[in-house]
């Protein structure tokens, strides 16, 4: 294998017709180059869209109350009801598959009226009453101060965590928000934290127009009693959140005396389902990329096989001489297969390098800029290794047919060929 004579001949044969070698190699190069670019772009699209989830726990489900649509247990249809604090320990103790259960209250929101004041400035923001656990479901980046904690909940402290957009509208540039106060619906809250959203574009802006305060403080300050707006739930590992979703809803139907088949009493949104749908789409894209890439690659490999056939034809006499001098069929075959594998491997390696380089270049040029649904095109080493092994195997196969042909020619016929 690592025999100088063999390699000398490989180089000689490939060098003898540079243009032909180049065009053949280009076929293989193009195949693997396309494969890498396609797969890398597919990954870029996936990264971009997954990025839109903003680091949401993808196994989360949101449940809120609506009005009942079926009469049950003596109640008429159309009854309105709410979640209460006591539901939280009740649900947690009955459904062990829950990882995080975070109750939430909300004020303001889209097209809400001005509800937050600081000095002369007023603005409309979403105001959320939350438990510290909420940061596990929809994480935000704390850039100053801290997020809510258990002591805030227990002591019903009047503290708040504000988003960048809130800072920009209520504070002058250079003003220190931490330790300062803002007024929410007439109640003063001390700012303890400032956050940035993990999302992008409009979603980021919307997300940063929010104020988080402790749930307990929310309920007391704004007269909500023990009412809860909605629940965010995540499942423990290896349990699909849909399963938990069904259990929680069934349990709460029982608790609030709602008909077990009532479809409208609870509103719910399952992020996992959306995520799975999206994942299916990307699996499809990646499958298509492999399909197109591998076919292009095969076209390249067939080119190599063709060229090897021509080379064998040209060298018929030489092969005959070699066999007269004692070369076994195996000697001849390995020579031709090595040539073919060498050509495909080199061309393939160049293709991988060029493809990866282009991806890195695009990634670098795009940087962290807001590029919508395309971000960080990438390809992993594992994929590259698979592509290269496909290449080497197909290179060997491409060489095998011409090699067999070379061996089938009897040395005597080869010598006569002039």
């Amino acid at each position: 294998m690592f025999d100088r004579d063999k390699w000398q001949e490989v180089f000689h044969v490939l060098e003898k017709n540079k243009l032909r070698t180049f065009l053949t190699a280009f076929g293989v190069f193009w195949g693997i180059f396309m494969l890498i670019i396609l797969l890398g772009s597919g990954n870029g699209l996936r990264n971009g869209v997954v990025g839109d989830f903003g680091g949401h726990a993808t196994n989360s489900v949101f449940i809120w109350t609506q009005s009942t649509s079926m009469p049950y247990a003596g109640f008429q249809r159309g009854r309105r009801f709410n979640f209460h604090n006591a539901d939280i320990p009740y649900v947690l103790s009955n459904i062990p598959e829950i990882s995080v259960l975070s109750p939430r209250c909300q004020m303001g929101g889209h097209n809400g009226s001005n509800n937050v004041v600081r000095g002369l400035k007023t603005a409309a923001f979403n105001v959320y009453g939350d438990y510290p656990e909420y940061n596990l479901i929809e994480p935000v980046k704390i850039i100053k101060g801290r997020f809510l904690n258990q002591t805030d909940i227990k002591e019903k402290r009047k503290v708040c965590v504000i988003g960048m957009e809130v800072l920009n509208s209520l504070f002058l540039e250079g003003e220190e928000p931490i330790g300062d106060y803002i007024e929410i619906n007439g109640v003063n809250f001390k700012v303890v934290g400032l956050y940035k959203s993990n999302q992008k574009g409009n979603q980021r802006e919307e997300s940063e127009k929010s104020v988080f305060i402790p749930l307990t403080t929310f309920q007391r300050a704004f007269n909500w009693g023990d009412t809860i707006g909605w629940l965010s739930v995540t499942s423990i590992d290896n349990v699909p959140v849909s399963e938990v979703e069904d259990k929680v809803i069934a349990l709460l139907k029982q608790r609030y005396k709602i008909h077990p088949d009532d479809p409208r009493a609870f509103g719910h949104f399952n992020l996992e389902k959306e995520f799975i749908k999206m994942n299916g789409l990307f699996t499809g894209i990646s499958g298509l990329s492999w399909f197109v890439g591998v076919l292009t690659l095969i076209a390249g490999v067939i080119g190599v096989s063709n060229i090897m056939l021509i080379i064998v034809k040209e060298r018929t006499q030489e092969i005959g001489v070699r066999r007269a001098l004692g070369a076994t069929p195996l000697n001849i075959m390995s020579q031709i297969v090595i040539e073919s594998v060498f050509l495909t491997s080199i061309a393939g390696a160049v293709g991988v390098l060029a493809g990866t380089w282009i991806l890195v270049l695009v990634d670098t040029l795009m940087g962290e800029a807001d590029t919508g649904s395309f971000k960080h095109p990438e390809i992993n080493l594992y994929t590259i290794l698979i592509a290269l092994s496909i290449l080497i195997i197909s290179g060997a196969l491409a060489g095998l047919i011409p090699a067999q042909r070379a061996v089938r020619i009897k040395p005597i016929d080869a010598l006569r060929d002039e």
């Binding site: 100088r4 004579d5 001949e9 000689h12 003898k16 006499q317 030489e318 005959g320 001489v321 070699r322 066999r323 007269a324 001098l325 004692g326 070369a327 076994t328 069929p329 195996l330 000697n331 061996v407 009897k410 040395p411 005597i412 010598l415 002039e418």
Partner: protein, 225 residues
């Protein structure tokens, strides 16, 4: 050394068969220098190919150095050729992209001998054919006579039992032809069996025995003194 009993060989031609060798009986002893003559189409090249295990035959028996050659695999044939037979061709058949030394060393490569050792031996044999100083030259830089001498060195390097030469002087002028024949005679004097196929009388007259082929049969076998 070579023993052929009733060798028959035919080639398929169109629908039928063309019988090229119609029962050849031949015995060449060790150390002989024999020439095979015949007009074109007489089957002399076919005979040489069978002797050289480059071609198989339909029926009959062939013993090379006491070993029966009968439907052996290509791999075994390659080994036998490598260790028992040295070939010399009319058109020299040197590998164009290898220099003289590498060409001479090629059979040793297939014998599995290391690079350094076989190049040393190649130089030794180039010395023997008087072309030591041409070792680094490519075949295209050599004259016909020089090429054939290099081919002879290549045939000799494995120290074979038999040298088979197919029209070794066919592409050479008479002066170089005699040079080549003298070289082959020297080789024969060292004890090697030499079989030459030729159609030139002056060449065949330089051998010890003449085998005349006509129409696939040996017609007479005069002893030349």
């Amino acid at each position: 050394m070579l023993k052929l009993n009733n060798i028959i060989k035919s080639y398929p031609v169109g629908g039928g068969k063309l019988e090229v060798l119609k029962g050849i009986d031949l015995h060449i002893k060790e150390g002989e220098m024999v020439s095979i003559m015949g007009s074109s189409g007489s089957g002399k090249s076919t005979l040489l190919n069978i002797i050289g295990i480059l071609d198989d035959f339909d029926s009959g028996e062939y013993y090379l150095d006491g070993q029966l050659i009968d439907h052996i695999s290509e791999k075994n044939a390659a080994h036998l050729r490598n260790s028992f037979i040295g070939f010399i061709f009319q058109s020299f058949n040197l590998i164009p992209f290898k220099n003289a030394m590498e060409n001479v060393a090629l059979p040793l490569y297939y014998k599995g001998i290391g690079r350094k050792k076989r190049n040393e031996m190649a130089l030794e044999y180039l010395e023997k054919v008087g072309l030591r100083e041409w070792a680094e030259h490519m075949p295209s830089e050599l004259s016909g006579g020089q090429k054939q001498r290099i081919a002879i060195a290549r045939a000799l390097i494995t120290n074979p039992k038999v040298i088979l030469a197919d029209e070794p002087t066919g592409a050479l002028d008479s002066a170089t032809s005699y040079e080549v024949m003298n070289l082959l005679k020297e080789v024969n004097n060292e004890g090697m069996t030499v079989v030459i196929v030729t159609h030139e009388h002056d060449i065949s007259e330089m051998t010890e025995r003449l085998i005349n082929l006509h129409d696939g049969k040996i017609i007479r076998e005069p002893i030349l003194v």
